[in-house]
Amino acid sequence: MVQMTYRDALRQALRDAMTEDDRVLVIGEEVGRYGGAYGVTKGLIEEFGPDRLLDTPISEPAIVGAAVGAAMAGLKPVAELMYVDFIGMTMDQLGNQAAKIRYMFGGQIGVPMVLRTQGGTGRSAGAQHSQSLEAYVLHTPGLRLAMPATVADAYHLLRGALRQPDPVVFIEHKALYTLKEEVDLSSPVPDWGKAAIRRRGDDLVIVTYSRQVHNALKAAQDLSERGIEATVIDLRTLNPLDFDTVRTEVERVGRAMVVSEGVMTAGVAAELSARIHEECFDFLHDPVVRVAGEDIPISVSVALEAASVPTPALLRETAERLVA
């Protein structure tokens, strides 16, 4: 067991992948000499050199587009988008090119690239640096989507992403980089595409991912003190989506709350709620309740920012009312 941060685990995953396979290279803004805006790639340029850590101009569409071409030509690029908020800049290369090349070309070739980025609130970074845009990605067939919540998953999901035959959007959470956990990276974790049950209880199931896993666990702790036991499912990857685990748990317990930091309307929580309603209808005692981001932009104000996304208190209150 070793103490490690989420940021260190990501760096270790990149280091191990780059050591094992010289086709792996990192391409993005400030990934080399600067070491990454959030320090994930710090020091890697000294280990692997500037040909493996390519500092780019501020050209997000071309960063993703170059990664597409590099992947088609046999390399394994890890492109970095400094903030997920910039994903709109790259949506043609990501959604029209990377996601569709295998299909449009009749299966001749895939685009095995990883787009590492980070999102979410927690740093008072304002409306264009704090969003949770995973629904944009999930709405595009052909793109895989991983969102690690734990230090071990920061490592294993990134290693897993680099083994995929298809483009993976890998969204880290900016508030988790300093998360420190005791981990043994050699101990087994669920396979790529499998959800993890982080806590078991018989009163309700909380289905979530990324930072909200931690909020859900906090809420579950409080609920437990009040006699309510929650199961907390960490989806880990949203595409592939391990709905079997969700279904099994919801059918066992009969109540579900889905939690997402992304905005409520047409979001990931909406998709999960619809699926649970459709597939677990006969097992539900109550409607599935969504707890998601408000349908508003994120403010710089610390107070407004914090109130814009689900908090442990809101999760606890909602769960209590659901179970009551």
């Binding site: 101009p57 569409p61 071309a62 590099a70 070309f105």
Partner: protein, 350 residues
Amino acid sequence: MTQTALRATSGPAPRHNSDLRELYTQMRRVRTFEERVGELFVRGQSAGSMLHLSIGEESAAVGVCATMRQGDTFTTHHRGHGIFLARGADPNRMMAEIGGKETGYCHGKGGSMHIADMGLGHLGANAIVGGGIPAVVGAGLASKRAGKGDVSVAFFGDGAMQQGILYESMNMAALWDLPVLFVCINNQYGMGTHIDQATKGRELHLRARAFGLQGETVDGLDVTEVREAAQEVMDGARTGQPGFLAVECYRFFGHARMDKSPYRKDEDEALGRQKDPVLHARAALIESGTEAGDLDALDRGIEAEMDQAIDFAVASGEPPLASMFRDVYGPDEPEPEPVRTRIDRVLARE
């Protein structure tokens, strides 16, 4: 003409005037392919409504491709039939793909605007203006690492000259000394908008030079001149000096099949069509002693080849419905669940 022979001719660049016949042959094949491809609709094939012809632009495709070699890769715009043919594509499989048939290059899923063939280095045609350009930066990176001197070429139209992605890509290619070539086939029109109504910066190659690329413009009338200009920038690209070439052409027909070009005058169109690289090469061949009857026989052979391609496409079957869910993800990944299967599952409850 056999397929083997065609592939062989798409190899190293012809270097002498005696090769004009070969360049003419390739241009005539492109033109005849484009003239005949509309026949698919006449023959009742419904797929592939998006059809963009490159008639009038043959010298750009053939002249540049004559400088390419095996191992080189390329992407094209939506008007790229000629480029793919000039790189050795099989007209049968092209025609079948355009018609959405199983025997096509992409099993009927890509069509005219998304045709590709990894065997010939075709990293894909593109329906997004400028969308295929940055891929050559990545392919160029891979090529530079491999160190074999392979070049990756982005072909696009004058419309893409007004897209930001081109400049991001040229900048990166120059910054990293990549073996990459950017080729603008300037047919004067972005759909219905003449280039004069799209930009005041008409000296397109100067934009490339501003980023540190070798940049040239060549008139598209004479295919040998196009080839020579292309050879110059290609030689630079092979040694890590990325280049740009604008080929000035005229789009003889409308933007797409249904476009009758109401935005341009008949007399302007007639004037534009005087810049005909195929007829120009033919006249040059006759002037240098080739018998007209000899060329007529060559043309008829090409017509037969393209008629056969139409027949092949028409006779080919549609892809099976089950293939619809294939190749969204890698071959060992589960296919997406069909909506009907899902509905059945949801409604199957007691």
